[in-house]
Each structure stands twice: as structure tokens, then as C-alpha cells.
Symmetry: C2
Subunit: 222 residues, 2 copies
């Protein structure tokens, strides 16, 4: 269907990113729109997880998706096929979105009628963790093939994420991955992090994650 715009995002003009992020959050709160900032490594399954999340929540919530990428529009195409509104943001080589860039996307997209906007950030465990986008909550996906040592190597990402989805649990038979170790490592950095073990492909665990997300959106928008 390919019914989405492609926006070339400009470098942000705001010097104080945190202040700008707080301003965006306040605006979204008043408009009753929940913004989820979704982060992960390349290929951890952001788009597949989103598709299976949308399938479960789209009858209950008005959902829109902003896909950020250096290049290409394959993700916006995939999301557009689910029937929810999507937009593709091109970052012009930037490895993350900051608050100002996120706001350009929100303004172009038009989010007033939406309950839940998902910002699929650039695939990267470093830079996106350093910039508050103005999101209501930060989510990250760690996939089983990446290994259970990632909280040790990318601590900031795990520290700033409100929820961590451990994805691709259907592939555990071919990888060494220690569930207890990864939970312990995440909670040592971030004791309040919610953790869900899921397979976006088979659907295992996705209902639990969606129930949590729906409750967060309803709490925010009430």
C-alpha cells in the first residue's frame, strides 16, 4: 500500500535537549497521546515486534508509527501493511533522534487523534540512549542472538529503558543465552526495569508485553 510520507529530518536547533524533551512530553500529555521510544541493535526485531504488537492492540488503541532510519523505507512499508498510519523519518546520517528531531516528526505526522505513537529509533545501542526524545516511556529490545552480555557493554541503554523485551526466544536452542544472568545484569543497572521474554515471530510472551503497554497508555491518557 505504501501510504506513508518520507520526511528528511533536520539537525536539531535546540541547545538544551532535556528541556525540549520535557516540553514535548507535557504537550503529548495534554493531547492524551502516549509516545513510546523503541530502541535496539540493528536486526533485534523492532519492526516485527511492532507488527505483532499492533495486531493485538489496534482494535483498542489508535496507533501511529514513526520509523526513523538513516536510509530506506522498508520499515515504514512493513508497518503500513498492518493498516495503521506510519511515517518514515530519514535522519540524514545521524545515529539517533533527539527531542527536536522527534518533534519535527510529530508535527509532520499529526498525532492529536492518536492514543499511542511508537517512535522506532535508529538501530543502535549507543547514541539513542544519550538523547531524551520526549517519550512517555523508553523501551528496548535485546534479541537472544546478541548475547546475554550486552548490559555489561551498553549499560546506559539498559539504565534508561523502562522496559526491556528479550526477543527471539524461539531461537534459544541454537544460542547460549542465560536468562537469569541477563535479568540480574539488567536489574543491577536498573532495578525498576520491566522485562518480558518474547518471540515476536511465534507470539510467545507478546500478550503479556501488550497488556503492560496498554495499561501504560491508559494511565498516561486518562
Amino acid at each position: 500500500m505504501d501510504e506513508f510520507k518520507v520526511i528528511e529530518i533536520k539537525r536539531s536547533v535546540f541547545e538544551n535537549n532535556d528541556k525540549e524533551a520535557d516540553r514535548i512530553r507535557a504537550r503529548l500529555k495534554s493531547e492524551k497521546t502516549f509516545l513510546l521510544n523503541l530502541m535496539s541493535s540493528p536486526g533485534a526485531g523492532k519492526t516485527t515486534t511492532l507488527k505483532s504488537t499492533i495486531a493485538r492492540l489496534k482494535d483498542d488503541l489508535k496507533i501511529g508509527v514513526m520509523e526513523a532510519d538513516i536510509d530506506s523505507d522498508v520499515d515504514a512499508k512493513a508497518i503500513s501493511d498492518t493498516g495503521v498510519r506510519s511515517i518514515q523519518l530519514h535522519t540524514g546520517g545521524m545515529c539517533h533522534l533527539d527531542a527536536g528531531m522527534t518533534e519535527q516528526g510529530l508535527d509532520e505526522f499529526g498525532t492529536q487523534d492518536l492514543d499511542l505513537v511508537v517512535l522506532e529509533n535508529v538501530g543502535n545501542l549507543v547514541c539513542p540512549a544519550e538523547f531524551d526524545t520526549g517519550s512517555s516511556k523508553n523501551a528496548m529490545i535485546l534479541s537472544v542472538p546478541e548475547g546475554d552480555d550486552k548490559p555489561l557493554k551498553y549499560p546506559l541503554m539498559f539504565t534508561i529503558s523502562d522496559v526491556v523485551l528479550i526477543n527471539k526466544i524461539d531461537t534459544k536452542s541454537v544460542f547460549d543465552f542465560d536468562d537469569d544472568a541477563v535479568v540480574e545484569r539488567i536489574h543491577r543497572l536498573n532495578p525498576n526495569a520491566e522485562i518480558f521474554f518474547i518471540s515476536a515471530k511465534t507470539g510467545e510472551g507478546v500478550d503479556e508485553w501488550c497488556a503492560w503497554l496498554k495499561a501504560q497508555v491508559q494511565e498516561w491518557n486518562k
Copy 2:
């Protein structure tokens, strides 16, 4: 054994990274030391690939490894266990190494007696592609679980890599991954890229990759 130093790398002072990179390359050429810049997403298998490469080449070449990470020293520990010299570089939050940062590592490490130095760059498909480190060759690893669409999303990384290792081919049974499509996408960006399909875990394809690397090192150092 843990016989390695941990170095806190400082932000580079050089304004012209390309010029600095060329200077490093000339110095390494004259010292008959080949520098391989190894890049990938987090968890694509850089360290495991290095370990299986070292096992095959360490009797023929004097090898050293510089491990760059935001934090932690788990990779330098793993390499140290192979018996080759290693050093851990901490980037202070930076998502890549540039030429000046690489040179700080080389100077601390002492590379004059080495035939091959591998710089394991920060796990990231965006920023490391933007900075010439002064390496003799750039290598990147794309792992099967990440998906065959990554050349579309991170084109610069595939454009600047002299060789692409497609790793974790032992896990193909649980992933959809189109070999022909990924080769076509890489060669469209970079017609001269060498591509090897490997499993660092089982050893499949690693001999071919090592033969190529050894030939490159011998050509550089002759």
C-alpha cells in the same frame, strides 16, 4: 589470565580525520604492521570470530588485538585467553573510534613487533563507518539473525568495508535469510567487497576467510 591494560581514550584533537588516518596508515606500512578495523552490530560475533581467526593464524603471524568498548573488559579478557596480546580501549561514551583515538591505542599498545593488529570497533553500524581509523582494511560482520535487509538500512557501512563476513550461518534453520539477496545488496553498494559466509562457532568457512586475511597481511607487509 587477564594480562591486558585498560586505556581511557581521550577525544581526538585532530581536525582533519582523513589526513590523520593517512598518516597512521603510512606509519603502519613502514613498520610492516597491518591494521584491520573490525566492525559490526552489537552481538554479531566480532569477538568469537576473532578467537577462531586467531586460533588459525597465530602460528603464522604475530597478532595483537585492541578491543574498543564504551565500558567493560569482557572482550579483552576473552582475547587474552587465546594467548595473543590484547588491550582494552574505553571510548568514554563515544560510539566509534576516529584516527586520533586509534593512534592513542596503537601508541599505548606498542605495535612495532606485530604483523597484524585487529581493532575491534564499538558495536554499531552507523558511526564507525563515518571515521577512517587509519586501518589497512575495513572488515564488517553481518550475522544471519540481523537479517538480509541490513545493507538497505546501513549503506555506508557496507560501502566502506573491504570484506563482509556473514556470520552465524549455523543458525539458518531458525531464520529467514536470503544469501543471494544479501550478496546482491552488498555488491550493488560496493562491487569490490569480498564476502565470506562463516560460522565462527562451528568453524565453517573460517579457513577461507583466514586465507584471504593472511594474504592481505603478507601483501601489506612485504
